[in-house]
Protein backbone atom coordinates (compact mmCIF):
# COMPACT_ATOMS: atom_id res chain seq x y z
CA UNK A 1 0.00 0.00 0.00
CA UNK A 2 2.17 2.86 -1.24
CA UNK A 3 0.40 6.25 -0.91
CA UNK A 4 -3.10 4.91 -1.49
CA UNK A 5 -5.55 7.13 -3.32
CA UNK A 6 -8.66 8.38 -1.57
CA UNK A 7 -11.60 6.22 -2.63
CA UNK A 8 -14.22 8.28 -0.88
CA UNK A 9 -13.98 12.01 -0.39
CA UNK A 10 -16.66 13.83 1.58
CA UNK A 11 -16.71 17.60 1.18
CA UNK A 12 -18.72 19.99 3.35
CA UNK A 13 -21.56 17.56 3.74
CA UNK A 14 -24.71 18.91 5.32
CA UNK A 15 -27.74 16.73 5.92
CA UNK A 16 -31.11 17.76 7.29
CA UNK A 17 -34.44 16.13 8.06
CA UNK A 18 -36.76 18.95 7.08
CA UNK A 19 -35.48 21.95 9.00
CA UNK A 20 -33.52 19.91 11.51
CA UNK A 21 -29.85 19.78 10.57
CA UNK A 22 -28.36 16.46 11.63
CA UNK A 23 -24.94 16.60 9.97
CA UNK A 24 -22.91 19.70 9.32
CA UNK A 25 -19.53 20.50 7.83
CA UNK A 26 -18.46 16.89 7.41
CA UNK A 27 -15.11 16.53 5.65
CA UNK A 28 -12.99 13.41 5.40
CA UNK A 29 -11.19 11.10 3.03
CA UNK A 30 -11.13 7.33 3.00
CA UNK A 31 -8.03 5.80 1.41
CA UNK A 32 -8.13 2.63 -0.63
CA UNK A 33 -7.83 -0.55 1.37
CA UNK A 34 -8.19 0.91 4.83
CA UNK A 35 -10.73 0.21 7.54
CA UNK A 36 -12.32 3.56 8.27
CA UNK A 37 -14.41 3.61 11.42
CA UNK A 38 -17.13 6.16 12.02
CA UNK A 39 -17.47 6.27 15.77
CA UNK A 40 -20.16 8.04 17.70
CA UNK A 41 -22.79 7.74 20.37
CA UNK A 42 -26.51 7.33 19.87
CA UNK A 43 -27.96 10.23 17.94
CA UNK A 44 -24.59 11.45 16.72
CA UNK A 45 -25.72 11.10 13.10
CA UNK A 46 -23.42 8.21 12.24
CA UNK A 47 -26.12 6.06 10.66
CA UNK A 48 -27.39 9.09 8.73
CA UNK A 49 -23.88 9.67 7.44
CA UNK A 50 -23.70 6.06 6.29
CA UNK A 51 -27.07 6.30 4.55
CA UNK A 52 -25.74 9.29 2.64
CA UNK A 53 -22.56 7.51 1.67
CA UNK A 54 -24.48 4.62 0.12
CA UNK A 55 -27.01 6.94 -1.49
CA UNK A 56 -30.10 5.99 0.51
CA UNK A 57 -30.44 9.65 1.44
CA UNK A 58 -29.61 12.83 -0.40
CA UNK A 59 -27.56 15.49 1.42
CA UNK A 60 -28.77 19.07 1.62
CA UNK A 61 -25.45 20.34 0.35
CA UNK A 62 -21.88 19.17 -0.10
CA UNK A 63 -20.39 16.43 -2.23
CA UNK A 64 -19.58 12.78 -1.85
CA UNK A 65 -16.95 11.67 -4.34
CA UNK A 66 -16.62 7.96 -4.82
CA UNK A 67 -13.62 7.01 -6.94
CA UNK A 68 -13.44 10.61 -8.07
CA UNK A 69 -17.04 10.89 -9.22
CA UNK A 70 -19.77 12.84 -7.51
CA UNK A 71 -22.17 10.22 -6.16
CA UNK A 72 -24.80 12.79 -5.14
CA UNK A 73 -25.19 14.18 -8.66
CA UNK A 74 -25.42 10.93 -10.62
CA UNK A 75 -28.29 9.77 -12.79
CA UNK A 76 -30.17 6.73 -11.47
CA UNK A 77 -28.53 4.44 -14.04
CA UNK A 78 -25.02 5.61 -13.16
CA UNK A 79 -25.86 5.17 -9.51
CA UNK A 80 -26.91 1.56 -10.07
CA UNK A 81 -23.65 1.03 -11.95
CA UNK A 82 -21.68 2.55 -9.07
CA UNK A 83 -23.51 0.44 -6.52
CA UNK A 84 -22.17 -2.73 -8.08
CA UNK A 85 -18.79 -1.69 -6.70
CA UNK A 86 -20.27 -1.20 -3.24
CA UNK A 87 -21.60 -3.65 -0.71
CA UNK A 88 -23.42 -2.96 2.51
CA UNK A 89 -24.10 -4.99 5.63
CA UNK A 90 -27.09 -3.76 7.57
CA UNK A 91 -27.47 -3.63 11.30
CA UNK A 92 -30.24 -6.21 11.29
CA UNK A 93 -28.64 -8.02 8.33
CA UNK A 94 -31.72 -7.19 6.17
CA UNK A 95 -31.70 -10.56 4.43
CA UNK A 96 -34.87 -11.07 2.41
CA UNK A 97 -37.00 -13.24 4.66
CA UNK A 98 -38.74 -15.03 1.81
CA UNK A 99 -35.52 -16.30 0.23
CA UNK A 100 -33.06 -18.93 1.40
CA UNK A 101 -29.59 -17.85 2.47
CA UNK A 102 -28.14 -18.99 -0.85
CA UNK A 103 -30.80 -17.14 -2.84
CA UNK A 104 -30.10 -14.01 -0.82
CA UNK A 105 -26.43 -14.14 -1.70
CA UNK A 106 -27.23 -14.99 -5.31
CA UNK A 107 -29.74 -12.14 -5.66
CA UNK A 108 -27.31 -9.43 -6.83
CA UNK A 109 -25.71 -11.90 -9.25
CA UNK A 110 -29.06 -12.88 -10.71
CA UNK A 111 -30.15 -9.27 -11.04
CA UNK A 112 -26.97 -7.79 -12.45
CA UNK A 113 -25.24 -10.53 -14.39
CA UNK A 114 -26.21 -13.01 -17.06
CA UNK A 115 -24.22 -15.84 -15.51
CA UNK A 116 -25.33 -19.44 -15.80
CA UNK A 117 -27.28 -20.74 -12.82
CA UNK A 118 -24.53 -23.32 -12.17
CA UNK A 119 -21.89 -20.58 -12.02
CA UNK A 120 -24.02 -18.52 -9.66
CA UNK A 121 -24.41 -21.61 -7.50
CA UNK A 122 -20.65 -22.06 -7.23
CA UNK A 123 -20.03 -18.37 -6.56
CA UNK A 124 -22.68 -18.35 -3.85
CA UNK A 125 -21.05 -21.33 -2.15
CA UNK A 126 -17.64 -19.66 -2.30
CA UNK A 127 -18.95 -16.47 -0.72
CA UNK A 128 -20.68 -18.39 2.04
CA UNK A 129 -17.56 -20.47 2.73
CA UNK A 130 -15.61 -17.22 2.86
CA UNK A 131 -17.66 -15.93 5.78
CA UNK A 132 -17.65 -19.31 7.49
CA UNK A 133 -21.19 -20.31 6.59
CA UNK A 134 -20.66 -23.43 4.51
CA UNK A 135 -23.62 -25.81 4.65
CA UNK A 136 -26.41 -23.41 5.55
CA UNK A 137 -27.33 -22.58 1.94
CA UNK A 138 -30.88 -23.88 2.15
CA UNK A 139 -31.81 -22.36 5.50
CA UNK A 140 -34.16 -19.41 5.70
CA UNK A 141 -32.78 -16.28 7.41
CA UNK A 142 -35.22 -16.77 10.28
CA UNK A 143 -33.57 -20.11 11.05
CA UNK A 144 -30.15 -18.53 11.61
CA UNK A 145 -28.67 -17.02 14.77
CA UNK A 146 -27.90 -13.30 14.95
CA UNK A 147 -24.20 -13.77 14.24
CA UNK A 148 -24.86 -16.11 11.30
CA UNK A 149 -27.33 -13.64 9.82
CA UNK A 150 -24.71 -10.91 9.93
CA UNK A 151 -22.19 -13.22 8.29
CA UNK A 152 -24.72 -14.06 5.59
CA UNK A 153 -25.21 -10.30 5.17
CA UNK A 154 -21.47 -9.93 4.62
CA UNK A 155 -21.56 -12.75 2.07
CA UNK A 156 -24.35 -10.99 0.19
CA UNK A 157 -22.50 -7.68 0.30
CA UNK A 158 -19.45 -9.48 -1.12
CA UNK A 159 -21.43 -11.21 -3.88
CA UNK A 160 -20.54 -8.75 -6.63
CA UNK A 161 -16.88 -8.52 -5.53
CA UNK A 162 -17.19 -4.90 -4.42
CA UNK A 163 -14.31 -2.50 -3.91
CA UNK A 164 -15.95 -0.74 -1.01
CA UNK A 165 -17.93 -2.32 1.79
CA UNK A 166 -20.03 -0.60 4.43
CA UNK A 167 -20.91 -2.12 7.79
CA UNK A 168 -23.68 -0.63 9.92
CA UNK A 169 -23.10 -1.54 13.59
CA UNK A 170 -21.65 -4.98 12.85
CA UNK A 171 -21.37 -6.03 16.49
CA UNK A 172 -24.64 -4.57 17.77
CA UNK A 173 -26.74 -7.10 19.62
CA UNK A 174 -24.15 -9.87 19.55
CA UNK A 175 -22.37 -11.55 22.43
CA UNK A 176 -18.65 -10.68 22.82
CA UNK A 177 -17.39 -13.88 21.25
CA UNK A 178 -19.56 -13.63 18.15
CA UNK A 179 -18.82 -9.90 17.93
CA UNK A 180 -15.09 -10.61 18.07
CA UNK A 181 -15.59 -13.13 15.28
CA UNK A 182 -17.18 -10.45 13.14
CA UNK A 183 -14.35 -8.02 13.85
CA UNK A 184 -11.99 -10.71 12.67
CA UNK A 185 -14.11 -11.26 9.56
CA UNK A 186 -14.01 -7.54 8.73
CA UNK A 187 -10.22 -7.63 9.04
CA UNK A 188 -9.92 -10.82 6.95
CA UNK A 189 -12.08 -9.39 4.18
CA UNK A 190 -10.05 -6.19 4.16
CA UNK A 191 -6.69 -7.94 4.01
CA UNK A 192 -7.74 -10.67 1.56
CA UNK A 193 -9.33 -8.39 -1.02
CA UNK A 194 -7.69 -5.07 -0.14
CA UNK A 195 -11.24 -3.99 0.47
CA UNK A 196 -11.95 -0.43 1.51
CA UNK A 197 -14.18 -0.85 4.56
CA UNK A 198 -16.30 1.76 6.28
CA UNK A 199 -17.60 0.65 9.66
CA UNK A 200 -20.16 2.53 11.72
CA UNK A 201 -20.01 1.53 15.35
CA UNK A 202 -20.04 2.65 18.95
CA UNK A 203 -18.10 -0.34 20.30
CA UNK A 204 -14.67 0.82 21.47
CA UNK A 205 -13.50 -2.78 21.80
CA UNK A 206 -13.99 -3.55 18.13
CA UNK A 207 -12.59 -0.17 17.08
CA UNK A 208 -9.33 -1.10 18.75
CA UNK A 209 -9.11 -4.28 16.71
CA UNK A 210 -10.27 -3.19 13.28
CA UNK A 211 -9.62 0.51 12.78
CA UNK A 212 -6.95 2.06 10.59
CA UNK A 213 -8.54 5.49 10.77
CA UNK A 214 -11.21 6.61 13.20
CA UNK A 215 -13.59 9.49 12.69
CA UNK A 216 -15.48 10.57 15.82
CA UNK A 217 -18.90 12.13 15.31
CA UNK A 218 -20.67 14.14 17.95
CA UNK A 219 -23.92 16.05 17.49
CA UNK A 220 -23.58 15.99 13.72
CA UNK A 221 -20.00 17.21 13.55
CA UNK A 222 -16.62 15.55 13.23
CA UNK A 223 -14.83 16.14 16.52
CA UNK A 224 -11.78 14.03 15.89
CA UNK A 225 -10.20 12.13 13.05
CA UNK A 226 -7.01 10.13 12.82
CA UNK A 227 -5.47 6.89 13.98
CA UNK A 228 -6.36 5.46 17.37
CA UNK A 229 -3.08 6.79 18.79
CA UNK A 230 -3.88 10.29 17.50
CA UNK A 231 -7.29 10.20 19.09
CA UNK A 232 -6.06 8.89 22.40
CA UNK A 233 -3.93 12.02 22.60
CA UNK A 234 -6.85 14.22 21.54
CA UNK A 235 -7.71 17.22 23.70
CA UNK A 236 -11.35 17.31 22.62
CA UNK A 237 -13.54 16.78 25.68
CA UNK A 238 -16.05 14.52 23.90
CA UNK A 239 -13.35 12.29 22.42
CA UNK A 240 -11.71 11.99 25.83
CA UNK A 241 -15.06 11.22 27.41
CA UNK A 242 -15.90 8.60 24.80
CA UNK A 243 -12.54 6.87 25.03
CA UNK A 244 -12.64 6.88 28.83
CA UNK A 245 -16.28 5.66 28.77
CA UNK A 246 -17.48 8.37 31.19
CA UNK A 247 -21.15 9.28 31.57
CA UNK A 248 -22.54 12.69 30.79
CA UNK A 249 -22.65 15.06 33.71
CA UNK A 250 -26.34 14.85 34.52
CA UNK A 251 -27.39 16.38 37.84
CA UNK A 252 -30.35 14.08 38.48
CA UNK A 253 -28.11 11.05 38.25
CA UNK A 254 -27.27 11.73 41.89
CA UNK A 255 -27.84 8.40 43.68
CA UNK A 256 -29.33 10.05 46.77
CA UNK A 257 -31.90 11.82 44.61
CA UNK A 258 -32.75 8.62 42.77
CA UNK A 259 -33.20 6.77 46.08
CA UNK A 260 -35.48 9.50 47.36
CA UNK A 261 -37.65 9.01 44.26
CA UNK A 262 -38.01 5.29 44.83
CA UNK A 263 -38.70 5.83 48.53
CA UNK A 264 -35.96 3.48 49.73
CA UNK A 265 -34.53 6.06 52.12
Amino acid sequence: MSTPEPVIVVEDLEVAYGDKVVLQGINFEVRAGEVFVILGGSGSGKTTLLRNLVGLMRPKSGRILIKGRDFTAMSPDERVEMRRKMGMCFQGSALLGSLSVADNVALPLREHTKLEESTIDIMTRIKLELVGLGGVEDYLPSELSGGMKKRAGVARAMAMDPEIIFYDEPSAGLDPIVAAGLDQLIRTMQSTFNLTSIVVTHEMESVKIIADTVCVLHKGKVVGIGTLDDLERSEHPYVRQFFARLPDDVSDADPAYARSLTGID
Binding site: G55, V80, E81, R83, F90, A94, L95, L96, E111
Partner: protein, 263 residues
Protein backbone atom coordinates in the same frame (compact mmCIF):
# COMPACT_ATOMS: atom_id res chain seq x y z
CA UNK B 1 -63.21 30.03 10.82
CA UNK B 2 -59.62 30.69 9.80
CA UNK B 3 -58.67 27.69 11.86
CA UNK B 4 -61.07 25.53 9.87
CA UNK B 5 -59.82 26.92 6.57
CA UNK B 6 -56.24 26.32 7.66
CA UNK B 7 -57.01 22.74 8.54
CA UNK B 8 -58.84 22.25 5.26
CA UNK B 9 -55.85 23.70 3.40
CA UNK B 10 -53.38 21.44 5.17
CA UNK B 11 -55.61 18.44 4.55
CA UNK B 12 -55.81 19.34 0.85
CA UNK B 13 -52.03 19.72 0.66
CA UNK B 14 -51.58 16.31 2.26
CA UNK B 15 -53.96 14.77 -0.27
CA UNK B 16 -52.03 16.40 -3.10
CA UNK B 17 -48.82 14.94 -1.69
CA UNK B 18 -50.43 11.49 -1.51
CA UNK B 19 -51.74 11.82 -5.06
CA UNK B 20 -48.26 12.79 -6.20
CA UNK B 21 -46.64 9.81 -4.46
CA UNK B 22 -49.24 7.44 -5.88
CA UNK B 23 -48.73 8.76 -9.39
CA UNK B 24 -44.97 8.39 -9.09
CA UNK B 25 -45.56 4.80 -8.00
CA UNK B 26 -47.95 4.24 -10.92
CA UNK B 27 -45.52 5.63 -13.47
CA UNK B 28 -42.68 3.59 -11.96
CA UNK B 29 -44.74 0.40 -12.11
CA UNK B 30 -45.70 0.95 -15.73
CA UNK B 31 -42.10 1.76 -16.63
CA UNK B 32 -40.79 -1.41 -14.98
CA UNK B 33 -43.62 -3.51 -16.38
CA UNK B 34 -43.72 -2.31 -19.98
CA UNK B 35 -40.73 -0.18 -20.93
CA UNK B 36 -37.88 -1.75 -18.96
CA UNK B 37 -38.45 -5.31 -20.31
CA UNK B 38 -38.37 -3.87 -23.84
CA UNK B 39 -35.02 -2.29 -23.04
CA UNK B 40 -33.77 -5.70 -21.94
CA UNK B 41 -33.83 -5.04 -18.22
CA UNK B 42 -36.10 -7.98 -17.67
CA UNK B 43 -39.17 -8.76 -15.68
CA UNK B 44 -39.37 -11.34 -12.94
CA UNK B 45 -41.67 -13.74 -14.75
CA UNK B 46 -41.31 -16.54 -12.23
CA UNK B 47 -42.29 -14.28 -9.38
CA UNK B 48 -45.25 -13.01 -11.40
CA UNK B 49 -46.47 -16.54 -12.00
CA UNK B 50 -46.02 -17.46 -8.33
CA UNK B 51 -48.09 -14.43 -7.38
CA UNK B 52 -50.76 -15.35 -9.92
CA UNK B 53 -51.07 -18.73 -8.23
CA UNK B 54 -51.31 -17.02 -4.84
CA UNK B 55 -53.78 -14.30 -5.87
CA UNK B 56 -55.75 -16.41 -8.31
CA UNK B 57 -55.71 -20.15 -7.75
CA UNK B 58 -55.53 -19.97 -3.96
CA UNK B 59 -58.40 -17.44 -3.87
CA UNK B 60 -60.67 -19.74 -5.86
CA UNK B 61 -62.04 -21.86 -2.99
CA UNK B 62 -63.26 -18.94 -0.89
CA UNK B 63 -64.38 -16.82 -3.86
CA UNK B 64 -66.14 -19.83 -5.36
CA UNK B 65 -67.98 -20.67 -2.15
CA UNK B 66 -69.08 -17.11 -1.44
CA UNK B 67 -70.22 -16.55 -5.02
CA UNK B 68 -72.14 -19.82 -5.10
CA UNK B 69 -73.99 -18.84 -1.92
CA UNK B 70 -74.70 -15.35 -3.22
CA UNK B 71 -76.17 -16.95 -6.35
CA UNK B 72 -78.39 -19.15 -4.16
CA UNK B 73 -79.51 -16.16 -2.09
CA UNK B 74 -80.13 -13.94 -5.10
CA UNK B 75 -82.39 -16.49 -6.77
CA UNK B 76 -84.45 -16.94 -3.61
CA UNK B 77 -84.77 -13.20 -3.06
CA UNK B 78 -85.76 -12.68 -6.70
CA UNK B 79 -88.40 -15.36 -6.44
CA UNK B 80 -89.95 -13.48 -3.50
CA UNK B 81 -91.10 -10.76 -5.88
CA UNK B 82 -91.26 -12.56 -9.22
CA UNK B 83 -93.43 -15.36 -7.85
CA UNK B 84 -96.28 -12.87 -7.35
CA UNK B 85 -96.34 -12.35 -11.10
CA UNK B 86 -95.81 -15.98 -11.94
CA UNK B 87 -92.53 -14.95 -13.51
CA UNK B 88 -90.15 -17.28 -11.71
CA UNK B 89 -88.40 -18.16 -14.95
CA UNK B 90 -87.03 -14.58 -14.99
CA UNK B 91 -84.98 -15.38 -11.90
CA UNK B 92 -82.44 -16.67 -14.39
CA UNK B 93 -82.26 -13.31 -16.17
CA UNK B 94 -81.89 -11.39 -12.96
CA UNK B 95 -79.20 -13.64 -11.53
CA UNK B 96 -77.23 -13.80 -14.77
CA UNK B 97 -77.24 -10.08 -15.46
CA UNK B 98 -76.41 -9.01 -11.91
CA UNK B 99 -73.71 -11.65 -11.58
CA UNK B 100 -71.98 -10.63 -14.78
CA UNK B 101 -72.35 -6.87 -14.57
CA UNK B 102 -71.96 -6.35 -10.87
CA UNK B 103 -71.83 -8.95 -8.17
CA UNK B 104 -69.23 -11.43 -9.37
CA UNK B 105 -66.62 -8.74 -10.13
CA UNK B 106 -67.40 -6.90 -6.88
CA UNK B 107 -67.37 -9.93 -4.57
CA UNK B 108 -64.21 -11.29 -6.15
CA UNK B 109 -62.45 -7.96 -5.80
CA UNK B 110 -63.48 -7.48 -2.18
CA UNK B 111 -62.41 -10.99 -1.23
CA UNK B 112 -59.07 -10.69 -3.02
CA UNK B 113 -58.52 -7.28 -1.41
CA UNK B 114 -59.03 -8.83 2.00
CA UNK B 115 -56.93 -11.87 1.26
CA UNK B 116 -54.13 -10.55 -0.94
CA UNK B 117 -54.14 -6.75 -0.74
CA UNK B 118 -53.50 -7.01 2.98
CA UNK B 119 -50.79 -9.59 2.38
CA UNK B 120 -49.04 -7.27 -0.08
CA UNK B 121 -49.05 -4.45 2.49
CA UNK B 122 -47.82 -6.70 5.26
CA UNK B 123 -45.04 -8.12 3.10
CA UNK B 124 -43.73 -4.79 1.85
CA UNK B 125 -44.22 -3.14 5.25
CA UNK B 126 -42.25 -5.85 7.03
CA UNK B 127 -39.52 -5.59 4.45
CA UNK B 128 -39.35 -1.85 5.02
CA UNK B 129 -39.15 -2.26 8.79
CA UNK B 130 -36.36 -4.84 8.42
CA UNK B 131 -34.37 -2.53 6.11
CA UNK B 132 -34.85 -5.09 3.32
CA UNK B 133 -36.06 -2.37 0.95
CA UNK B 134 -32.91 -0.36 1.70
CA UNK B 135 -30.85 -3.48 1.12
CA UNK B 136 -32.44 -3.97 -2.30
CA UNK B 137 -31.69 -0.38 -3.20
CA UNK B 138 -28.08 -0.60 -2.08
CA UNK B 139 -27.68 -3.74 -4.17
CA UNK B 140 -28.86 -1.70 -7.13
CA UNK B 141 -32.13 -3.62 -7.36
CA UNK B 142 -35.12 -1.36 -7.81
CA UNK B 143 -37.82 -2.31 -5.27
CA UNK B 144 -40.56 -1.41 -7.75
CA UNK B 145 -39.05 -3.74 -10.32
CA UNK B 146 -38.35 -6.48 -7.82
CA UNK B 147 -41.51 -6.36 -5.74
CA UNK B 148 -44.22 -4.29 -7.37
CA UNK B 149 -44.12 -5.08 -11.08
CA UNK B 150 -44.63 -8.87 -10.68
CA UNK B 151 -47.44 -8.35 -8.17
CA UNK B 152 -49.11 -5.81 -10.43
CA UNK B 153 -48.99 -8.08 -13.45
CA UNK B 154 -50.27 -11.00 -11.38
CA UNK B 155 -53.11 -8.95 -9.97
CA UNK B 156 -54.43 -7.58 -13.26
CA UNK B 157 -54.49 -11.11 -14.67
CA UNK B 158 -55.66 -13.01 -11.59
CA UNK B 159 -58.60 -10.79 -10.63
CA UNK B 160 -60.37 -10.95 -14.04
CA UNK B 161 -59.59 -14.65 -14.31
CA UNK B 162 -61.11 -15.43 -10.93
CA UNK B 163 -64.00 -13.11 -11.75
CA UNK B 164 -64.82 -15.08 -14.89
CA UNK B 165 -65.02 -18.28 -12.87
CA UNK B 166 -66.98 -16.51 -10.14
CA UNK B 167 -69.57 -15.38 -12.71
CA UNK B 168 -70.14 -18.95 -13.78
CA UNK B 169 -70.33 -20.21 -10.20
CA UNK B 170 -72.77 -17.50 -9.18
CA UNK B 171 -75.10 -18.45 -12.03
CA UNK B 172 -74.73 -22.08 -10.99
CA UNK B 173 -75.74 -21.09 -7.45
CA UNK B 174 -78.82 -19.34 -8.82
CA UNK B 175 -79.67 -22.42 -10.87
CA UNK B 176 -79.39 -24.66 -7.81
CA UNK B 177 -81.87 -22.78 -5.65
CA UNK B 178 -84.17 -21.87 -8.54
CA UNK B 179 -84.41 -25.51 -9.61
CA UNK B 180 -84.47 -27.27 -6.24
CA UNK B 181 -86.29 -24.73 -4.06
CA UNK B 182 -88.40 -22.55 -6.35
CA UNK B 183 -89.07 -25.28 -8.88
CA UNK B 184 -88.01 -23.74 -12.17
CA UNK B 185 -87.39 -26.26 -14.95
CA UNK B 186 -83.61 -26.82 -15.21
CA UNK B 187 -83.58 -26.50 -18.98
CA UNK B 188 -85.76 -23.41 -18.91
CA UNK B 189 -83.39 -21.77 -16.46
CA UNK B 190 -80.43 -22.45 -18.75
CA UNK B 191 -82.15 -21.22 -21.88
CA UNK B 192 -83.38 -18.11 -20.05
CA UNK B 193 -79.83 -17.43 -18.86
CA UNK B 194 -78.37 -17.83 -22.33
CA UNK B 195 -81.04 -15.56 -23.73
CA UNK B 196 -80.53 -12.88 -21.07
CA UNK B 197 -76.79 -12.46 -21.38
CA UNK B 198 -75.39 -10.16 -24.02
CA UNK B 199 -71.75 -9.69 -24.82
CA UNK B 200 -71.70 -6.24 -23.24
CA UNK B 201 -72.57 -7.63 -19.80
CA UNK B 202 -69.54 -9.88 -19.87
CA UNK B 203 -67.23 -7.20 -21.24
CA UNK B 204 -68.22 -4.51 -18.75
CA UNK B 205 -67.82 -6.95 -15.87
CA UNK B 206 -64.37 -7.96 -17.04
CA UNK B 207 -63.21 -4.38 -17.64
CA UNK B 208 -64.30 -3.46 -14.12
CA UNK B 209 -62.45 -6.38 -12.61
CA UNK B 210 -59.19 -5.40 -14.33
CA UNK B 211 -59.40 -1.99 -12.66
CA UNK B 212 -60.33 -3.57 -9.34
CA UNK B 213 -57.09 -5.53 -9.62
CA UNK B 214 -55.18 -2.32 -10.32
CA UNK B 215 -56.74 -0.65 -7.28
CA UNK B 216 -56.05 -3.58 -4.93
CA UNK B 217 -52.43 -3.82 -5.97
CA UNK B 218 -51.64 -0.13 -5.83
CA UNK B 219 -53.33 0.42 -2.50
CA UNK B 220 -51.56 -2.61 -1.05
CA UNK B 221 -48.17 -1.50 -2.30
CA UNK B 222 -48.63 2.14 -1.37
CA UNK B 223 -49.74 1.32 2.16
CA UNK B 224 -46.80 -1.05 2.46
CA UNK B 225 -44.30 1.64 1.51
CA UNK B 226 -46.00 3.96 4.02
CA UNK B 227 -45.22 1.70 6.99
CA UNK B 228 -43.18 3.35 9.72
CA UNK B 229 -42.01 2.15 13.07
CA UNK B 230 -42.03 -1.57 13.58
CA UNK B 231 -44.62 -4.29 13.86
CA UNK B 232 -47.33 -1.95 15.08
CA UNK B 233 -46.95 0.16 11.94
CA UNK B 234 -47.32 -2.94 9.78
CA UNK B 235 -50.56 -3.85 11.55
CA UNK B 236 -52.03 -0.38 11.20
CA UNK B 237 -51.23 -0.05 7.53
CA UNK B 238 -52.48 -3.55 6.77
CA UNK B 239 -55.87 -2.65 8.21
CA UNK B 240 -55.79 0.67 6.37
CA UNK B 241 -54.93 -1.18 3.18
CA UNK B 242 -58.06 -3.34 3.29
CA UNK B 243 -60.33 -0.42 4.17
CA UNK B 244 -58.89 1.83 1.47
CA UNK B 245 -58.97 -0.79 -1.24
CA UNK B 246 -62.58 -1.77 -0.53
CA UNK B 247 -63.51 1.91 -0.58
CA UNK B 248 -61.64 2.41 -3.86
CA UNK B 249 -63.21 -0.70 -5.37
CA UNK B 250 -66.66 0.74 -4.71
CA UNK B 251 -65.65 4.10 -6.19
CA UNK B 252 -64.20 2.46 -9.29
CA UNK B 253 -67.34 0.36 -9.54
CA UNK B 254 -69.51 3.47 -9.37
CA UNK B 255 -67.49 5.31 -12.01
CA UNK B 256 -67.62 2.41 -14.45
CA UNK B 257 -71.27 1.67 -13.81
CA UNK B 258 -72.18 5.28 -14.57
CA UNK B 259 -69.92 5.21 -17.61
CA UNK B 260 -71.44 2.01 -18.99
CA UNK B 261 -74.93 3.27 -18.22
CA UNK B 262 -74.45 6.04 -20.75
CA UNK B 263 -72.45 4.04 -23.27
Amino acid sequence: MINVLGRLGRWALRQVAVALQVSVLMVDTIVWLVIAPLKGKGLRWRSAVEHMVEFGVRSLPIVGMICFLIGVIMALQASYTLDQFGANRYIADLVAVSALRELAPLMTAILIAGRCGSAITAEIGTMKVNEELDALQVMGVNPVKYLVAPKFLAMVIAVPAVTAIAMFIMIAGGWTSAVFVVGVEPVVYVSQTVGAIVEKDLVTGMIKSVFFGVAICWVGVYRGFQVEGGAEGVGKKTTASVVTSIFLIIIVDLVFTVLFYYL
